[in-house]
């Protein structure tokens, strides 16, 4: 879906169709009940869009030019980001890693990706713990303090975090090997992910919409009014 939308965005030139596609994805987000969770990211995008348009309008002293210049770019950007967010917030990371495994991606890639996705929050937590323990010892880290004494930051946070990272990775390796994991062997899974009726229906509908949009973009002259 993300690849398809990215390619479609590159092919379509009419702003009306791009906006329609964006509204379509937004509707899918509402239907998937993830709109509230992605609102922070969409808010950041809106902030970025408004800033970019405002800066250009200020420099050129022409609001219309700024809008004309940025509209297609921002519409494409919005569609790609929304499609990615829709995927990210409706697909559990372990399912994603398992799907790649079933698509015959090398074990080195799927295993490593599984670990990366699993340990992002753990390492963020570790960094927070190290930071808190420094605070308990009376070491305060303001932005100015980090610039003035980078060695505090280096000795206090970076080194402990890397040592913790090495320990965690060793523990994972021992746990994986003790469960019979081998990098050069095929992995199997108790639960297989398969393409169901709903997936086929979704894919067919999406393909049909893509074809209609490309047809409209190439053939209908009235859209050029936009």
């Amino acid at each position: 879906m993300i690849l398809g939308l990215t390619l479609i965005c590159a092919l379509i030139n009419h702003i009306f169709l791009l906006i329609s596609l964006g509204v379509g994805i937004l509707s899918l987000m509402i239907f998937s009940k993830i709109l509230k969770r992605v609102s922070t990211f969409l808010g950041l995008f809106i902030l970025f869009a408004v800033t970019a348009i405002a800066i250009t309008a200020f420099i050129t002293a022409d609001w219309r030019y700024a809008l004309d210049y940025f509209s297609p770019f921002l519409a494409r950007f919005f569609i790609i980001i929304s499609a990615g967010l829709l995927f990210a917030f409706t697909t559990p990371p372990h399912n994603f890693a398992q799907s790649l495994q079933q698509m015959k991606f090398p074990t080195a890639v799927t295993f490593t990706m599984g670990i990366s996705l699993r340990y992002i929050p753990t390492l963020a937590g570790e960094a927070e713990s190290i930071f808190q323990s420094l605070k308990l010892r009376g070491i305060k880290f303001s932005k100015w303090e980090v610039i003035k004494n980078p060695s505090y930051f280096y000795r206090g946070i970076i080194i402990p975090l890397i040592i913790r990272t090495i320990k965690i990775s060793d523990e994972i390796a021992i746990a994986a090997e003790s469960r019979g994991f081998k990098c050069d062997q095929k992995r199997n899974s108790l639960h297989k992910i398969s393409i169901g009726k709903n997936d086929v229906l979704f894919l067919s509908t999406l393909s049909l919409i893509f074809i209609i949009i490309i047809f409209l973009d190439k053939n209908l002259l009235f859209l050029s009014l936009s």
Binding site: L3, F48, I80, V109, S116, I120, I172, K182, C183
Partner: protein, 186 residues
């Protein structure tokens, strides 16, 4: 012509370390890019800001694993995460993947493997150079943006990012050396 080709095999320890390093790199990358995004929407500045800090983490990973191919795995996985999960922007995948392949190719030809100071500096610098060139031109080539940045600005940005990447590689090498002396890293 009886050359023996040494096959590079990653062990479970290597892969688990690369996985955790990518997680750490992702955190560092997100913090620096979000920090810069709050100040400016310009893409070259985001790349410049994150290059140094991200390269430190990558260099530590390379210094431990040492095998050619490590950077490609890092680039591919980081690219998949950035393209499909967050920030969910597809052009990041070819950028990080090509950067990783370029760094591995450069280090294989010039140094044979990672581990030496120059291989880390060169590898990180090369990866960041290719990454920046791709990320600043790919959206235009795909048609996301109507106008490309001036070529000189792209080149200057890429060179600055490559230098910062190399500097990050040097710092990463020094940290890895210190950890090896302390016995915390093999």
């Amino acid at each position: 012509m009886n050359e023996t080709v040494k096959e590079v095999k990653f062990t479970t320890r290597d892969l688990s370390f690369i996985g955790v390093i990518i997680a750490l790199m992702y955190i560092v990358q997100t913090i620096t890019i979000l920090g810069v995004s709050a100040l400016t929407p310009l893409d070259p500045l985001k790349a410049i800001a994150s290059a140094f800090f991200v390269s430190i983490v990558i260099a530590i990973g390379l210094a431990k694993v040492k095998k050619i191919g490590t950077f490609t795995i890092i680039g591919l996985i980081n690219g998949i995460i950035c393209a499909f999960i967050l920030p969910a922007f597809l052009p990041l995948l070819p950028a990080t993947l090509l950067g990783g392949i370029a760094a591995d190719g450069f280090s294989k030809v010039s140094f044979g493997e990672y581990g030496s100071r120059n291989s880390l500096i060169g590898g990180c610098g090369m990866a960041k150079l290719v990454e920046t060139l791709v990320i600043l031109t790919f959206p235009f080539l795909l048609g996301f943006s109507t106008e490309i940045l001036p070529p000189l600005l792209i080149l200057v940005s890429a060179i600055i990012v490559a230098i910062l990447g190399g500097a990050g590689g040097l710092v990463g090498y020094k940290i890895a050396s210190e950890l090896k002396k302390a016995g915390a890293m093999e």
